[in-house]
């Protein structure tokens, strides 16, 4: 139970708040980390799905467009069978209906322009460079589709087109027929396809040329780029690269592919941020709640406990005068408080009992000692009286007998423990008288008494043991006559008895011996006994103090409180 070794824990509410906050933080962190990871994975999955769906839709639409254009091509090829005006009529109607066909042209095997049908535009006489006829593709295949290029055969009209060309079988002059297609029909559709907030779709061909892009002009102006070379190498499917999801879908019967581009971060980060905010909010709320709870707990638990602890401390310091006030609080605290109350009550009761028993014991002891006072003293005194009578010193003998009688009367005092100081001094003087006769005037004595003290009470037979000690151990051994001073005075609220002799004195060892050893047969009540009685009656602050110097003398101080008649009767 050594308090130094016990580890001290912080206050209850601090621990509670700390624990709640800590557990909450850990749980929130774990849950949010887990949830965010799950959420992110889910978001990415759904983003991939959305991207793939958007691309599939675009692919279906573009496939339909390609099919339509193939049908148009079939019609155009069929029309080539007709002659002159019929063919012109048919193609003009076709161009009017299909607004995204910019021109229908026929070429020789070498790529020289044979015929050209177009609304509102005529081909120039000198064509600098015709981008619609791709000699390389024409040499190796019966049909081809070019990447986007500018239409270069007209004057003052330069739209971007894609050329579809088919070989015309069995024709001498016109070996190829081609359609130059602008994107008016599908561009609007593709431009309006959105994936997430900033995602989009674009069209590229097998080699990675952008066929149509919603931000084509940005790309052409060098403000934006698309890594189509890399995308062209990827097979169809959904590819997540860092923060971008690419969804690639091939188009049926075509070399074109749809690419969907969407951004993971914009989809996920917003949600993650929102959730982080919620988490922080919850954490702050929980912390606030923990603080609040801690505060309440400190009110209803810690403070009563602290009150109880301080009550215990006060009890420890002054058990006698401790008055216990019950502490209120939770039931546990109140039970503890009640138990402590019981304990205090019990301890105080026990302490009272012990003191009472002690007093009784001393009283009995004193009575026993008084009863045996002191046969030798009595015999010697009686011998002295007898001797005085023989000598004819009758007056001395009478004094002696009176003194002896007074001595005994006072020491009995009807069984009272406390007697007036006047009586005690009488008792002391009687004793000194007797001893002075017996020691043949080997010492003298003086009383110096503050008259106001005489009516106060003191324990009986307080001075006699001390005087006995002074004569027996101090003066008896001396060759020259000694002197004893007895002084009674006030010292503040206390009364001080001082017995001073000029005898041989004592060393410290002897002083300690006198104060701590039980009286032997020879001696009377004993100095220790006087000291013990005073302490039991009046408390630790009272009792004897001995100062002694070998060959100088001894001074014994007796301190006791002022007790008036009636104040201490019960004791």
């Amino acid at each position: 139970m050594s308090p130094a070794r016990r580890r001290r824990l912080p206050r209850l509410w601090v621990m509670l708040v700390g624990m709640v906050a800590g557990v909450t933080a850990v749980v929130l962190f774990a849950v949010s980390t887990f949830f965010i990871a799950q959420y992110r994975a889910g978001m990415i999955q759904s983003a991939r799905t959305a991207s793939a769906q958007a691309c599939n839709q675009v692919a279906v639409t573009v496939a339909r467009y390609v099919r339509d254009m193939n049908e148009v091509m079939d019609l155009v090829q069929t029309s080539m069978e007709y002659e002159g005006a019929d063919r012109d009529e048919f193609l003009r109607d076709l161009l009017r209906v299909r607004s995204d066909v910019v021109a229908v042209t026929t070429y020789t095997e070498n790529g020289d322009l044979v015929d050209c049908w177009s609304l509102d535009h005529e081909p120039r006489d000198q064509i600098l460079q015709n981008l619609s006829f791709d000699a390389e593709s024409a040499a190796s295949a019966d049909s081809y589709v070019t990447p986007p290029h500018v239409e270069t055969i007209f004057e003052s009209y330069y739209p971007w087109v894609v050329t579809m060309a088919n070989r015309l079988p069995g024709k001498e002059t016109a070996a190829w027929v081609s359609l130059d297609l602008s994107f008016s029909t599908i561009s609007e559709y593709i431009s309006n396809v959105g994936i997430g907030a900033h995602g989009y779709c674009f069209l590229m061909d097998r080699d990675g040329n952008v066929v149509y892009h919603p931000q084509q002009q940005l790309i052409y102006s060098g403000l934006k780029s698309e890594d189509t070379a890399h995308l062209a190498e990827l097979p169809d499917g959904v590819w997540t690269e860092k923060t971008v999801i690419y969804s690639i879908t091939g188009i049926e019967d075509s070399t074109w592919r749809v690419v969907g581009v969407s951004y993971v971060d914009e989809l996920v980060d917003l949600s993650v941020k929102a959730m982080l905010r919620i988490c922080l909010g919850v954490a702050a709320t929980v912390l606030a709640a923990a603080l609040g709870t801690g505060w309440v707990l400190s009110r209803i638990l810690s403070r009563p406990l602290a009150a109880l602890a301080s009550a215990m401390e006060r009890f420890e310091q002054d058990a006698d005068h401790f008055a216990y006030e019950p502490v209120s609080g939770t039931r546990e605290v109140e039970e503890l408080s009640d138990s402590f109350g019981h304990m205090v009550h019990r301890i105080q009761h026990l302490m009272a009992t012990v003191r009472e028993e002690e007093v009784n014991l001393r009283k009995t002891e004193l009575k026993a000692l008084q009863a045996q006072i002191n046969p030798h003293f009595l015999y010697n005194t009686l011998d002295s009286i007898a001797w005085m009578c023989e000598q004819g010193r009758n007056a001395d003998a009478v004094n002696m007998v009176h003194a002896l009688a007074r001595l005994f009367r006072i020491s009995i005092s009807k069984g009272h423990e406390l007697i007036p100081i006047r009586k005690e001094l009488e008792h002391a003087e009687s004793y000194l008288q007797i001893q002075k006769y017996r020691y043949k005037n080997q010492f003298t004595y003086d009383f110096k008494v503050d008259e106001s003290c005489l009516d106060c009470l003191c324990n009986k037979i307080t001075l006699q043991p001390i005087l006995e000690n002074a004569i027996a151990h101090g003066l008896d051994l001396m060759v020259e006559p000694g002197h004893i001073d007895v002084e009674v005075c006030r010292d503040g609220k206390d009364i001080l008895f001082r017995v001073q002799d000029d005898g041989v004195g004592m060393d410290e060892e002897q002083v300690r011996h006198i104060l701590h050893s039980e009286p032997g047969d020879r001696t009377g009540i004993g100095i220790k006994n006087v000291n013990d009685r005073l302490r039991i009656y009046f408390g630790e602050g009272y009792g004897l103090r001995i100062e002694s110097e070998p060959d100088e003398g001894t001074c014994v101080e007796i301190r006791m409180p002022q007790v008036r008649e009636g104040e201490y009767e019960t004791k």
């Binding site: 000198q126 600098l128 500018v150 702050a284 709640a289 609040g292 009110r299």
Partner: protein
């Protein structure tokens, strides 16, 4: 004591409620930034030429991307700086937060721009700079380098002694002056070229044509013509065609439209210095958005948009197609 306890408990509940309430409030306040779109005014020199139409397309693309309420205005004439100053004031009173500006006049538009900037309006200069310290960034061609390029195009493609006539526009246009300076320096350094005369004409095709005709008739020795913007290039090409001088006069024009592209194919025009007006418009509005969203620090003082030389040889190369022909 009991009473005291209930009171403290109530106080604790109250405290908790206040804390939770304040948290909820701050939580609700935070994510409310999406409001009405920012207003940006694009004030340029002209709405007639292909050059500015491309610029508008770029500006509109950026406005759509950044959700910006964009208004576009231009004076009727490229020389009318007073009308342009009025347009700037109009933009200010209409509540524009940023003015993206292409100056008709380097000096005479400065006061209107400074006045607008005084009112806390951001200034972004594109294509033609203005003499104001308030310009957050200039986005456009390095005009001196473009002038050098024009002269270089003629020097590389025409043989022998070059007698150069320069068809420039507005004397107060910083762009025209810079281009002329670049061209003169390059021609002088070559040692085989001399500038016969410089004509300052209006930035308008008919006026340029008339002035070019007069110049060529007065100085028949001229075998190289440099025209420093789109309308003067068109006018000069028409003059060359009228004089049937496509083979004898080497014409270097600026910018591109269908006429000059036609003329490049037929030979009246021999080379074009092509700027990137779409990028100027796009980057101008994008910079306005950055300025408005507190990222003005990211803006460079000068952004050089690419310039290229197009001649008959590379007219239909893919890069030239992309630079010359708008994709609609």
């Amino acid at each position: 004591m009991k009473q005291n306890n209930t009171r403290t408990r109530m106080a604790a509940v109250l405290l908790g409620a206040v804390l939770a309430g304040s948290l909820l409030l701050t939580g609700c306040m935070a994510p409310t930034t999406a409001g009405s779109p920012h207003k940006v005014a694009l004030v340029v020199k002209s709405s007639e030429t292909q050059f500015f139409l491309s610029m508008f397309a770029g500006a509109e693309a950026a406005a759509t991307e950044y959700n910006i309420d964009l208004t576009i205005t231009a004076p009727d004439s490229e020389e009318d700086y007073e009308a342009q100053n009025l347009l700037v004031e109009q933009a200010v009173s209409d509540g524009a937060e940023v003015i993206v500006f292409s100056a008709t006049d380097y000096e005479n538009t400065a006061s209107a721009i400074d006045a607008a900037a005084q009112k806390g309006i951001g200034i972004i200069a594109i294509d033609s700079d203005v003499d104001s310290k308030e310009v957050a960034t200039y986005i456009g061609t390095d005009n001196y380098a473009a002038g050098c390029m024009a002269a270089q195009a003629a020097l590389e493609r025409a043989q022998g002694q070059l007698n150069v006539g320069i068809i420039n526009y507005g004397l107060n246009s910083a762009n025209g002056q810079e281009r002329e300076r670049g061209a003169r320096d390059t021609l002088e350094q070559s040692g085989r070229a001399q500038v016969v005369q410089v004509v300052h004409t209006k930035a308008e095709a008919q006026a340029a044509k008339a002035d070019t005709l007069a110049l060529l008739q007065e100085h028949p020795e001229i075998n190289v013509l440099l025209a420093f913007n789109e309308p003067t290039s068109v006018g000069a090409a028409e003059a060359v065609r009228e004089l049937d001088a496509a083979d004898t006069v080497f014409l270097v024009g600026f910018d591109t439209n269908v006429e000059t592209v036609d003329d490049l194919q037929t030979g009246e025009v021999d080379a074009l210095i092509v700027q990137n007006p779409y990028a100027m418009g796009y980057l101008g509005v994008e910079s306005a958005y950055k300025w408005l969203t507190g990222r003005a620090g990211e803006l460079e003082p000068t952004v050089d948009t690419a310039t290229r030389i197009v001649d008959r040889e590379n007219l239909f190369a893919m890069d030239s197609q992309k630079a010359l022909f708008a994709f609609n």
